[in-house]
């Protein structure tokens, strides 16, 4: 069987829980710990690794070697940074709202850690196997907004407040295209359950055929990204996810060249580290949900399950780093317009494209729909995108510019 | 003690009353909107509790009506806050007692 790693892990967990059969209370505790603790620790380790990865990747893009002093290839750099952050003085502004200043990092970290519980890491490997996991994921993801506002408002600093308000406006705006592009997948899979969405991306008839080649490709070709609506939806989702996770080029809330560090201005030491960690874990969680929705989740050839999920999630994170190394920050007036006037109509149109694709698949069969759908669906979305960008084109300034301060 | 329907109903009634008291006592316009939301939520709790302990939960009437209420509440909140902005622009205050003029 392909998913042997997942099954081994589940067996291991069951064995560990079985050890405490005589003590029911302890058993429940052990069960809870096994469901949460490895996940939290693994993601914290992934956070450390990803900071290293990001610094190295960005450095190479900018023709620098990156951190290379602590440990081999600088791999222990996150550890050193963590110790440094722990030992730093925790400065709280005198006029700040002390309670909310303290609560903000906690409020940001808790939803981030809850959100990773909704990710289907493998076949049956899920901390919170809820029926409506995807919906809960988005619900919990929207709590980030509150935490960012809390941080910005409680600091009693105008830059913090501006950063916080920017973050709130941005996150609220981009949540709509995010959810709407996810709706296509939910609609086609007919479920809000993460496991079922993953299962819908495997071609069952090919997997059961016994043919090795068909089994190999049955784990890949069913991914929603290979369909026209899935491809477009993935692009919309990914762009909106970048904005949700405050990643570049949508890192306006922390735009250091404009508003110092946004809502993080008044944070130092360990609280800052927690903010940092929560942001990275949110980025991981949102790329994990993108993997689940569009990239086949844990399905993949040969080593299906946890390994494929890790590979996919890190590749998406690498793309985020790549984008950060490439694109400059958006202007704040372009940001809102992009979400409301470009992404939102396209995401809504994409739902219709997905619906047509679904019905034509039932009508004309798989291959015809695949080819025709790519041509027609892509043409529709492309035309719409071009038309929208023409409509949204900001008016060009004609004639001579007038500068007030310069002559 | 087992939790019964009455526990939920009492809680809901208490929450509704708190909302009502707030709406009648405070003069800040946003606080009044908050109180409206509290009252609506208390009603939602009632609906869900009745569904949960009710005779025919398969029909899912409770969640359905709660969904409608939430949609209406969201509309109300959005519209109410837009009106707050409009009032503030006009009267330069959020104190409802000072919003007295019909003209201008």
């Amino acid at each position: 069987m392909n998913n042997f790693i997942d099954y081994k892990l589940i067996e291991l967990g069951q064995w560990a829980v079985g050890l405490f059969n005589d003590y029911p209370v302890v058993q429940i505790l052990v069960h809870l710990l096994l469901a949460t603790l490895p996940l939290a620790l693994a993601f914290m380790a992934a956070f450390g690794f990803s900071t290293w990865l990001e610094r190295k990747g960005l450095a190479r893009i900018q023709n620098r070697p990156g951190p290379n002093r602590v440990g081999i290839f600088g791999l222990l750099q996150p550890l050193a940074d963590g110790i440094k952050m722990l030992l730093k003085e925790d400065i709280v502004p005198d006029r700040s709202d002390k309670l909310f200043h303290l609560l903000a990092p906690v409020m940001l970290m808790v939803p981030a850690f809850i959100a990773i519980g909704f990710l289907p890491l493998g076949d049956g490997l899920m901390s919170l196997p809820l029926d409506s996991a995807i919906l809960f994921f988005f619900a919990v993801g929207s709590l980030n907004t509150i935490a960012v506002f809390m941080a910005g408002w409680s600091s009693r600093n105008k830059y913090s407040l501006l950063g916080g308000m920017r973050a709130v406006a941005q996150m609220i705006s981009y949540e709509i295209p995010l959810v709407l592009s996810a709706v296509t997948v939910i609609m086609i899979a007919g479920s809000l359950s993460a496991q079922e969405i993953v299962a819908s991306q495997q071609i069952e008839s090919w997997l059961a055929s016994g043919n090795l080649v068909k089994e190999f490709f049955g784990q890949i070709l069913g991914w929603h990204i290979f369909k026209p609506w899935g491809f477009a939806g993935f692009i919309f989702f990914f762009v909106a996810a970048l904005a949700e996770a405050n990643r570049s080029p949508f890192d306006l809330p922390e735009a250091d060249s404009e508003i110092i560090a946004g809502h993080l201005t008044e944070y130092s030491g360990f609280k800052y580290a927690i903010f940092f960690m929560a942001e990275y874990i949110s980025a991981f969680a949102i790329s994990g949900i993108a993997v689940t929705l569009f990239l086949g989740g844990w399905s993949g050839p040969v080593i299906a399950g946890l390994p494929w999920f890790i590979i996919k999630i890190f590749s998406l994170f690498a793309v985020m780093i790549w984008i950060r190394g490439t694109l400059p920050r958006l202007r704040v007036d372009q940001l809102m317009g992009y979400a409301w006037k470009f992404l939102l109509p396209l995401a809504i149109l994409n739902i219709f494209v997905a619906g047509f694709y679904y019905f034509s698949e039932q009508q004309f069969g798989g291959l015809t729909t695949f080819i025709g759908g790519w041509i027609i669906g892509f043409a529709i979305l492309q035309t719409a995108a071009k038309g929208l960008s023409r409509l949204n084109k900001s008016p060009t300034i004609n004639g001579k510019r007038v500068y007030q301060l310069v002559e | 003690m087992e939790i019964t329907l009455n526990h939920y109903l009492i809680l809901s009634a208490v929450l509704f009353t708190i909302g009502l008291i707030g709406a009648l006592m405070r003069r800040h316009i946003i606080i009044m909107l908050i109180c409206l939301e509290i009252m609506l939520n208390a009603a939602n709790l009632n609906l869900i509790a009745f569904w949960h302990y009710g005779p025919n939960p398969i029909m899912l009437h409770g969640p359905l009506f709660t969904l409608f209420t939430i949609a209406i509440a969201a509309t109300e909140a959005a519209l109410g806050l837009a009106l707050v902005l409009a009032i503030y622009r006009h009267f330069k205050t959020v104190d409802l007692e000072q919003v007295q003029d019909l003209k201008e």
Partner: protein, 278 residues
Amino acid sequence: MSLIAKGILQGMAITAKNFIQSYYKKERLPTVQYPEEKSTVNQFTRNIPFLVYDGEDAIDGMRCTACKLCEKACPPQCIYIIKDTDENGKPIKRPEVFDIDSSVCMSCQLCVEVCPFESIRMDSEFELSNENRFEGLLINRDELLKSNEYYHEIHPIEAQDTDDRIAAKIAEAEAKKKAREEKARLAAEAKKADAVMKNAKVAAVTEALAAKAPAAEQIQESEAKTGVIKPEAAALGTTEKSATKAPPPEPVSKDDQASTPQTKESKAPGEDSEPKIF
């Protein structure tokens, strides 16, 4: 903007190229891991002044004459010079103290510009950091003195140029000297002939010679003042020469050693003129 943004993809291709090429192309990763490997210094790098000496011995071969022109020229006034004295308190043309405050020096090269003896030059040394804030950053005379070979090593073109210039000065000076001596000889011969012709006394000839010797010295001194050439440096233009000439005899006192430039200066014409006179 269409669904697939071409510009974004182009940009991402460029960054990807940067990323991948940084692993095998040197120009894509120009960073030098400083403490382990040091960057090669360009020969036109100028950082902090140093004093050039010729030959083996730093003190003997020192070109500096403590004329203090550089001290006056230094805009941030980072040079501090005390003229050396001999046992009797008579000043010698050599610095006893020559300090440069590296924390103040702004690498302007004005000291190099004004130096008439090609003595002060710019070093390409950049590791000037020190644990001691005050004394550590003050570079004294012995640390500043570096050989002409070192100068050739760091700034080959400039050092060669300097050497050529010095050689040219020597040649010019020698030519002038020769011309002068020729003139003197001719004059002497003419006088001799006069004397012979007029049957003058031997005492008169010696008187005339005695009058001429200080005159020659005077000319030389005036040349040094105009900054054209320092006879000592000129004499030691090539290192081989200086190596053979420089070491003074053992018993000579320190004071004597210190005053070598002066003695040589006075000696050089003396040596040449002596056989002529007698």
